[in-house]
Subunit: 127 residues, 2 copies
């Protein structure tokens, strides 16, 4: 699009170029601005964690409360094993934190990003 190279101040330089060349320029400049593949890979991995209904339910149940494994299992009618496996994934993605109290381990959302991401997604879904 015209806008793009105008923004880069290359109006004159682009003026004499063929349309295909101009598009190549755009493509090249996007490529330069694009974050490293590794970061985009990590980003996808992050969303993948949110992309399972069991994990979303678990995350949502902790939206305003900390809960122990058993609570979650009862709440969502899941096996203890299943919950534990999912919590492991949530832990390693830094989406939840936990603390021990006696025999129980209480899990909660790790930071505000988690809440923010879920909220944003919710807005999109509820449209």
């Amino acid at each position: 699009m015209a806008e793009d190279y105008r923004r880069t101040g290359e109006t004159e330089a682009s003026a004499g170029k063929a349309v295909s060349e101009v598009r190549e320029d755009i493509v090249r400049s996007i490529l330069e601005q694009q974050p490293d593949d590794e970061i985009l890979y990590d980003l996808a991995e992050l969303f993948k964690v949110f992309g399972d209904s069991t994990r979303i339910k678990i995350l949502y149940s902790m939206f305003e409360n900390e809960l122990c494994v058993n609570d979650i299992a009862k709440l969502l009618n899941l096996s203890q094993s299943s919950v534990s496996h999912q919590l492991r994934i949530l832990k390693s993605s830094k989406l939840v934190k936990f603390r021990r109290e006696g025999k129980s381990i209480y899990y909660s959302l790790d930071d505000e990003h988690v809440r923010a991401i879920i909220s944003m997604g919710m807005e999109h879904v509820e449209e």
Copy 2:
């Protein structure tokens, strides 16, 4: 935990109850607040779409520009077919919109939620 039922305003009612009963109350009140399963399912489905590195790359490449299928394929070194398949998924999730111009079809992000969700995720990843 005390904090939790205090927050729900049940301090007095809970005062005489056994710890296990109190937890059951908490679990029950969370269940009531939890959005319907269907909505949480849709939410997970939404994040699932973000949860693939190819799709994230495609979305990111459109962060500030509209692009046609061929541009994206060249830019990301992907087959035309692969890009087209992914765009179909992005379309049906309402993450991208498109317009036709001659033989080409230009795709762009559908709304600000998409940018917001990606940005939030990015912040989390970059920590």
